[in-house]
Symmetry: C2
Amino acid sequence: MPKANDHSPSRRRFLQSSLQTTGAGAAALFAPGVVNGYTAQEVQSFYVDGEMQRNVSKWELDTPALCVDLDLLDANIDTMQTTLASNGIASRPHAKTHKTPIIAHKQLDTGSVGICAAKVSEAEVMFQNGINDILLTTTNVTPTKIRRAMNLRQACPGFIQTTDSPENARLLSEAAQALGIVADVVVDVDPGGNRTGITPGQPALALAQLVDQLPGLTLRGLLCYDGGSQHVMGFAARRDQTLGRLVAATETFDLFNSSGLSTEIFSGGGTGTYNIDHATRGLTDVQVGSYVFMDAQYIDIGGETDNEVYSDFAPSLTILTTVLNDQYAGRCTTDAGAKACTINQPWPRVKGETGMDYTSGSDEFGTLRYGNDASRTYKVGDKLELIVSHCDPVVNLYNQMYAIRNDRVEAVWPIAARGMSA
Amino acid sequence: MPKANDHSPSRRRFLQSSLQTTGAGAAALFAPGVVNGYTAQEVQSFYVDGEMQRNVSKWELDTPALCVDLDLLDANIDTMQTTLASNGIASRPHAKTHKTPIIAHKQLDTGSVGICAAKVSEAEVMFQNGINDILLTTTNVTPTKIRRAMNLRQACPGFIQTTDSPENARLLSEAAQALGIVADVVVDVDPGGNRTGITPGQPALALAQLVDQLPGLTLRGLLCYDGGSQHVMGFAARRDQTLGRLVAATETFDLFNSSGLSTEIFSGGGTGTYNIDHATRGLTDVQVGSYVFMDAQYIDIGGETDNEVYSDFAPSLTILTTVLNDQYAGRCTTDAGAKACTINQPWPRVKGETGMDYTSGSDEFGTLRYGNDASRTYKVGDKLELIVSHCDPVVNLYNQMYAIRNDRVEAVWPIAARGMSA
């Protein structure tokens, strides 16, 4: 695959100094009950010997603060890359989850074949921050968006555009020709959700043949993202559903092959099916996203070895929040509401605690309610660490995340593609 | 009240050129069924005579795009100011809704006595953009936040801080003294939600007396924000609930007065009760927020004259979205999902349409489903205009909003306090 010139004048590389190849890191342990929140007194005690004062402790951050634990993040990436490699497929992680170029670089530096982007503005930001191999998984339909995508392809030879209709393929062809380029294209095949993509089988084949024939376009294969199966509860049910739904995609893959069309890329899958997807014949790579952070929604689906907790990956992404009010029985109020946590459910969970429920239904305030078996209560000024409800939209609320190692702030990462929904 | 020096070197006034005093504007009409979405062909037709091409039409914007109709916005502000003036109370609008300094200036320029802010970072941004009178309605509890608030008070004499506990009042006093300032403070009284604030009656009185006595602090009055009543369905039920819940606040107001304490400020109320709150004896101003934009949540509560539709204010805030896929029966897929609309309910509504349901449960995609009585269907490339579900968290997703008049973009307004949740 052609590579973009890293020294292109159109590229801003202001983040490069922060980039490192990541090692295996600490083991990816998710052990509920081990890490508690901290009382204000405990946080003070971290500074008694003066050592913490030489750095910024995460417990000193103004809250709400979005934090990612670097050891857990690196371990999650390592687990994914190791598992996929042993299963003979690759990762093409989705940047829609993290929107953070530094994390995209970590993924590419550890073996990912490229990244995915959901919107052209997201892809543009990734390219501006040094990412060369980008699969845009959404079909662009307006003249402006098509022009933007083809302009990006002109600057970034590793850019691949998705299409899902003959009309759209013709518009892509015209736009590519107008720029004098030959653009890489994959066909989006509907896994049965009827949300995006073209119907598998003959409709998809006809579209691929059209792309293959149109001037200015090069067919690279197909994608079939089975989003509807990622959160099916229970490993066996999830496996059965997604393998069943991908059968038509594999049949389409076979049709492409028997017609002499490229199937170099057959992309699909996600964090919920990463250790299932290699059983779909022909699939080359998975568009995994949430595995880097994890969240309450994924924890609850259960894994292959643990039917209760999906513990393959550790919850590396947390929100720090402060107790603002403790005057009323059985509850306290925090500073992390819907604008800090979203209202996705299951609600955020207080890391390490049991017997208490957190809700973020109010825009500005969170509420912690104690059950009868709460391990302890919290007071004004105490800090809580929340496992997020659903990582993608939570990340999209913040301008930056704090990169934490051993409770200290190691870096502040711009979430450069935050809000890039167009 | 002391005024901040508009020429303070600490203030950035880069937005000033965009600021105008607003007139009465067009009548605030909310007429469902009048304005439809537009098909791609219709949008093209806007440009036949060339006139639209000399400006940027909102229909040309890349989507999703957040838009505010200026005539409707100005009319909403006018309705609020006129009604409150005739009822003998003032507005102190909440910036948590719009997070946009230009809108705060419009409110102040038309008679608001100040603005409210929910977080110290939000208040800082407002001050940096020329806003001088700011009531911070949240109690700050950490040393960092208290220091930030008192630093802001030092630069901005019109800044007022809320407190809700004796411990917190003492910390405020210490911080103010450390800076050599005397800070204005109001006591937050709990309306019964047990979320924030101190219990009305003797606990609130004791706190007010403490504030009055502590060095470095000046008591200015109290606030009692009855957020839990704003969305009660039906005008009569809403009126009865909020007037009942505010009785204890008025009794506290009386206690302050009989003890010789300041009640210059007795702030409460919101968009749902703006024409009820003057019946709470002593109340000086309402912390209205959503009235500038409106949303599906407020439309559904019903008004004094129309029990079905809360039509006092017009839905000025909309999201433009584009149809991406129309290949499957009874539905189409758009580019505005949870990251553009939130997942608040009721779901966004297609402006002017009936017989179709929009959902934004997917992070990246919206879904429009047609019922049997849909007035028409939409095709790939068509544009829809959505009335937002819940304006506050929706605004918090966008870096900018397009200020629209007669379907043309008149300005692009930075949502300068977006993401300021700390």
